[in-house]
């Protein structure tokens, strides 16, 4: 069996599994967010945080909840790291420096999981489990909650009420993420991922010398790392590490986990807005881009014509032999098209164009299928932009799902799409213009530029993967990347929730033969085109000077 064929089979298996899971999982999530019953444990939590889960919130209240909760999360995680040196169960690691602690706290709260530290050499059990793992759950739940609020904006009319943030967030954890992560962790443990609280072992190496290994609650961390599209690895090598991702099966399983919720949310959306077909149009858009990107990645990685690659059969640098090019490419595309950022191979080592594909995946705004929640609201914003332009071409004031896209809606959508390009381009330009940041590059030329461009693209889009090679643990990068993650996460959320409020207040416009049918393949094609062209135009010059210059040389 050739490697290409193996890759195709793995992809088909993955698509099959996702096709099976998305209906029940999507329906289940829709039920979770529309039920008015509270579980016992949830009632305890509400009592604990002093929240009333039954009050309906307008968008401003919902946003306050998101921001307050996240601010507390950042503060708690920051303090936990700063105090690591005096806390028990820290494997003897010292406290984290302020800039790195800030960066890491922001990174995990924003669902980015950018890591400027080496997990096995910096974070003890307490920070990993009480800090990082907790945020892996709640940051993902916040993302889904915001997406659900936007969906409610579409589904409801004549009321600006978007649900209750505390109920949405808590249910996301208790009813969706925890049970799924629990099952996934058991599968991972069964397949060889480690799960313990042991200390550091010194192990003799096969070729002589020795190496330090530490144990940890890895399998459980791994499960939510993928499931919540977090991506922060227990170990620095992330999913390339055999303790995190031991076999080709776990590799495929982890890809499945990181895609499961994002690819099921369109179903949830369809059910909640009362038209499963509308959900399928969104799902088809996501799937088209995802499959096309995998195809492109295979094309550049398998067929790379350079002497070293010819000998190796293909470009194997930076990829695990046990996963091969096919599966590594699927992982790389999936992790950058979601906001996961976990890696089982090193994107910096991909061919010039292959590296460009991972970059472009994030630049699209991580919407195919995107991060948990953030992917759905991101693509819905793009749908609004596409509807606005195309809707005019059918001779009506544009409307989407029965809601008119007027001045206020387009203003908010336009602001949303401005945020990440502004962060990525301005911060990359600043890093390139200033004398010191460039010292962090390992490579020169176009590849060096790609390292910095990648870092800001990853942080601003809350991906968290790195174009290995950049030394990001400097004050400049810790601070600016931290700011990029914060603004890249919460500023768009402000616009999404404001938009949800605005949509929810409208009365619905009935569908007629004159309405643009957004559940048809034509619209899916249009949406794919709009996403690619708008992103492509924004980043073309930057991509030309980085991956394109390298890949076409």
């Amino acid at each position: 069996m050739g490697p290409v064929f193996a890759g195709v089979l793995q992809l088909l298996a993955l698509i099959g599994a996702l096709a099976i899971i998305h209906v029940p999982l999507g329906n289940y999530m829709a039920k979770v967010y529309s039920s008015d019953k509270h579980w016992g444990v949830e009632k305890w939590i509400y009592k604990g945080i002093g929240a009333n889960p039954d009050t309906e919130m307008r968008w401003t209240a919902y946003l306050r909840g998101v921001l307050a909760f996240s601010a507390v999360g950042v503060l708690f995680l920051y303090l936990l790291q700063r105090l690591q040196g005096v806390l028990p169960g820290s494997l003897g690691f010292s406290s984290i420096d302020p800039d790195q602690a800030f960066n890491t706290a922001v990174s995990f709260v924003t669902n980015t999981n950018w890591q400027s530290y080496y997990g096995e050499q910096a974070m003890g059990h307490v920070v990993q489990t009480a800090g990082l793992a907790v945020q892996n759950f709640v940051s993902a739940a916040v993302g889904i909650a915001v997406a659900v609020a936007l969906v409610r904006g579409f589904a409801r009319s004549r009321s600006g009420e978007l649900g209750n943030f505390w109920a949405d967030m808590v249910r996301g954890v208790t009813r969706i993420l925890l049970p799924l992560a629990f099952v996934a962790a058991i599968v991972l443990v069964a397949c060889g991922a480690i799960q313990n609280f042991s200390g550091i072992h010194e192990v003799g190496q096969f070729m002589g010398g020795s190496q330090e290994w530490n144990g940890g609650a890895v399998a459980s961390q791994e499960a939510i790392k993928e499931l919540g599209t977090n991506g922060g690895g227990y170990f620095n090598a992330n999913s390339a590490h055999p303790f995190e991702n031991p076999t080709p099966f776990t590799n495929l399983f982890e890809i499945f986990l990181l895609l499961a919720i994002p690819f099921s949310l369109p179903r949830t959306f369809g059910v909640l807005v009362g038209s499963v077909k509308q959900g399928y149009a969104i799902l088809a858009t996501m799937a088209t881009i995802w499959v096309a990107f995998i195809g492109l990645m295979w094309w550049t990685e398998f067929a790379h014509r350079a002497p070293a690659f010819e000998i190796a059969g293909a470009s194997m640098e930076g990829k695990e032999v046990r996963f091969g090019i096919g599966a590594s490419s699927i992982f790389a595309v999936s992790t950058t098209l979601t906001s996961t950022g976990a890696v089982d191979s090193f994107h910096s080592s991909y061919t010039g164009l292959g590296g460009g594909i991972t970059l472009l995946g994030m630049m699209l705004g991580e919407i195919a299928p995107g991060g948990v929640g953030s992917g759905l609201y991101g693509i819905l914003i793009m749908a609004i932009i596409a509807v606005f332009i195309a809707g005019l071409m059918v001779g009506r004031t544009p409307e989407y799902l029965g809601k008119k896209i007027g001045t206020r809606e387009i203003k908010l959508a336009a602001c949303y799409i401005l945020v990440t390009p502004a962060l990525v381009l301005v911060l990359t330009a600043a890093a390139m213009a200033l004398p010191t940041p460039a010292n962090s590059m390992t490579n020169g030329g176009a590849h060096g530029f790609s390292e910095i461009l990648y870092a800001y693209t990853s942080a601003s889009n809350n991906n968290g993967s790195a174009f290995a090679g950049l030394n990001a643990d400097t004050q400049w990068f810790n601070s600016t990347l931290g700011i990029a993650m914060l603004l890249g996460r919460f500023v768009p959320m402000v616009f999404v929730l404001a938009l949800a409020g605005s949509l929810g207040e409208q009365k619905p416009v009935p569908v007629t033969a004159g309405t643009l049918r957004t559940e048809k393949p034509l619209f899916t094609g249009l949406l794919v085109g709009a996403i690619l062209i708008i992103t492509g135009l924004t980043y073309f010059p930057a991509l030309a000077l980085g991956p394109l210059a390298e890949g076409l040389a």
């Binding site: 332009i389 059918v394 007027g406 203003k411 009935p510 062209i533």
Partner: protein
């Protein structure tokens, strides 16, 4: 029998179709001479205070200033000067588009101004006339107008009847009747009384009259950006910011790559990327949309109404005059038992010879066509005494050769026969009822001769649905628009006509309150409703409807309440108004799509030109094989400027509109403006590059 004689022939009983009709002012076609004529205006609009209203073009304006200043620092650089020149041309072309659009309205405004020449009003004060300038009239003043007078201001006739020449505003030379009371009392300042004497109560302040508003509208002075236009402007501004970011952050990237980008090149790149095509044409599209309405003699009081017209999903159409011809026509003669059809036809014809109403004429015509009865002239029948229709008798007829023939409403004729001791055929009632049930109007024909008084039969008068209406409603259905017929008829009649015409629904025995309730019900479901109306009792409904088209013949109250006025008073035009609204939105969307799709080719021209020297691999992106970097950038800039001029006719005329479903329309427009927008600049830039490379010393 008779109905009120129409004071004015209905305008076009046959729908005018979707082809651009022969407009009174400026044909729909684009005349290149207008470009030259509008040049001075285009330069005048270079004022930054004017430019700032269009964010996209303002950025080009700033870019032009920057490159020009930069060129002064390096006067020997032909490239900088050429780019600057073309950037200025880009701005001027944009201004030109707007100026041409406005220019077309100006001609009409001038005609209107002539009608507005200072008039002297004959104001009535306590019964005495005094002469005051028209500008001093106040609301509530009474003025007298006699044959030859120009009406000094808008108002309602409170006394008398007159024929009025309204050609100054409608372009229609046939005079119209204006009379006190009823729904034809409104007169417009600037029109001329042709006969008789009327007293008018002024209802509008000078300076705010209909003609003043019309001048403002056609000149574009009163134009405000419509909601959708504002939304589109926001999107265009945000795209401009995105591209500003992409270009402004480029210098540090380029410096790192080992090449320095000059200000000229950066501005050129920026101008090529921002959506200048739609930015330049956006306001021209809006002005031209209003203009298209004006050409069809419709005045929209706000651009918002025009946009709303495109969104309408329910059309309320009055039956009479819109769906059916204004009058009923005879369809058949039905004899009662014991008589023949020919007898009925003969009697009916005789009784109608003097009846000049359309119904009466139609009886004579039917008798001739179907029974070969020659039309007898009134003179042939010596001694005939013609009985006119009156509201009391509700019958008309003739007494000739000892025969008395009557036709009229069933009840009246039966009474007439019974009074004369005649026997009423027992099936007369049944026949009349059958006709009523089928949606027709029965007229009984009776005779009194030597054999006594008796009923002969029934004339079946039918509402005649206008030609082409069924197809028109079919089109509307495909566009997703529901049509509701409004009629005062009983439900049975209404249902029959509704079925024949092919409307989706009907409202029978409609009172103004019913209409209002219907509109509110539709609106509660999120639908936008359009209607026409002319009477004062229509005013509340006109105001409630999203698009309310008042007939110019209607009352001031109706005209005040609606947001459009149809100068031709042709209710069928509502359908055209909807199409114009849609066309306006489609044109905006199509040019926006085109503009954005254009950018792809421009990148492929400019990026290799900028960076192939330091990253030779990027030359592979030069798929157009442009001759040199300078020529590539220049070609893109020139294309970007010329495409604006090339699209001015499209912006003014509007994208072709066909009433098809949204899906088909989207497919078609995406293919033309999306795909076309991707491909066209590749071809255009290549051709311009070829031409530039022919110039010696360049390329």
């Amino acid at each position: 029998m008779s109905t009120a004689t129409p004071t004015r022939a209905p305008h076009s009983d046959v729908p005018t179709g979707h082809k651009s009709p022969e407009g009174r002012v400026g044909a729909g076609l684009f005349d290149p001479k207008q470009l030259v004529k509008s040049l001075p205006d285009a330069f005048r609009k270079l004022d930054p205070r004017v430019m700032v209203k269009s964010p996209v073009m303002f950025v080009v304006w700033i870019g032009s200033v920057l490159t020009t200043v930069f060129s002064f620092t390096d006067p020997g650089d032909w490239f900088g000067w050429t780019i600057s020149a073309w950037l200025w041309l880009t701005v001027i072309f944009a201004n030109l588009a707007e100026a041409v659009a406005e220019g077309r309205g100006k001609a009409q405004a001038d005609t209107l101004r002539r009608a507005k020449t200072d008039t002297v009003a004959r104001r009535l004060v306590e019964g005495r006339e005094e002469r005051v300038p028209g500008t001093e009239l106040r609301i509530g003043d009474l003025v007298v107008c006699e044959a030859g007078d120009i009406i000094p201001g808008d108002g309602d006739v409170v006394e008398g009847v007159a024929s009025v020449d309204e050609s100054a505003i409608t372009g229609e030379s046939a005079p119209v009747i204006r009379e006190s009371g009823g729904d034809r009392s409104a007169v417009t300042g600037g029109t001329k009384v042709l006969s008789d004497r009327i007293v008018i109560k002024i209802t509008t302040k000078p300076g705010e009259t209909f003609i003043d508003r019309m001048i403002g509208l056609v000149e574009g002075a009163a134009r405000q950006k419509t909601p959708n236009e504002i939304a589109l402007n926001i999107l265009l501004a945000s795209l401009t910011i995105v591209f500003l970011l992409a270009v402004a952050t480029l210098p540090p990237f380029a410096d790192y790559a080992g090449t320095h980008l000059t200000m000229v090149v950066l501005v050129a790149l920026l101008v090529c990327l921002i959506p200048t095509t739609i930015g330049a044409l956006l306001s021209a599209i809006g002005i031209a949309g209003m203009d298209r309405l004006v050409q069809r003699n419709v005045l929209a009081m706000s651009g918002r109404a025009v946009e709303a017209a495109g969104d309408v999903s329910t059309l309320l159409l009055d039956k009479t005059g819109t769906i059916t011809l204004g009058n009923r026509q005879a369809a058949e003669f039905v004899p009662v038992r014991g008589t023949t059809e020919a007898e009925v036809a003969d009697a009916a014809q005789l009784s109608s010879l003097a009846d000049e109403t359309p119904e009466g004429r139609s009886i004579v015509v039917l008798a001739k066509e179907k029974y070969g009865l020659r039309e007898r002239h009134q003179g042939e029948l010596a001694g005939a005494e013609w009985i006119e229709f009156t509201a009391q008798t509700r019958m008309s007829g003739v007494d000739v050769d000892g025969r008395k023939i009557r036709k009229g409403a069933a009840g009246s004729v039966i009474t007439w026969v019974e009074e004369r001791g005649g026997a009423v055929a027992e099936d007369a009632d049944t026949l009349a009822d059958t006709i009523s049930e089928a949606g027709g109007t029965p007229l009984l024909v009776a005779v009194e001769d030597s054999a006594g008084a008796r009923i002969l039969g029934v004339i079946h008068l039918k509402d005649v649905v206008k030609d082409g209406m069924r197809e028109r409603f079919e089109e509307l259905r495909r566009m997703g628009i529901k049509t509701v017929m409004i009629t005062g008829d009983n439900p049975l009649t209404a249902k029959a006509i509704a079925e024949e015409a092919g409307v989706d629904d009907f409202l029978a025995e409609a009172t103004p309150e019913d209409k209002m309730a219907l509109i509110k019900r539709e609106q509660a479901g999120g639908k936008l409703v359009a209607m026409t109306g002319d009477g004062t009792n229509d005013a509340p409904a006109l105001a409630q409807a999203d698009v309310g088209v008042a007939m110019n013949t209607g009352t001031s109250a109706a005209k005040e309440a609606g947001n459009m006025v149809d100068l031709d008073s042709n209710p069928t035009k509502l359908i055209e108004i909807v199409e114009i609204g849609k066309q306006l939105l489609i044109t905006r969307g199509a040019l926006t799509t085109f503009s954005i799709a254009n950018d792809v080719a421009k990148y492929f021209a400019i990026i290799p030109a900028l960076f192939a020297a330091v990253h030779p691999g990027l030359d592979k992106l030069n798929i157009m094989q442009l001759s040199s970097p300078d020529s590539a950038i220049l070609s893109a800039v020139i294309f970007n400027a010329l495409i604006i001029i090339a699209l001015v006719p499209l912006a003014l005329k509007g994208v072709q509109y066909r009433p098809v479903s949204a899906d088909r329309m989207l497919r078609r427009n995406l293919a033309i403006y999306g795909l076309g927008g991707l491909i066209a600049p590749f071809v255009g830039i290549k051709i311009i590059d070829l031409l530039i490379s022919l110039i010696p010393g360049i390329g």
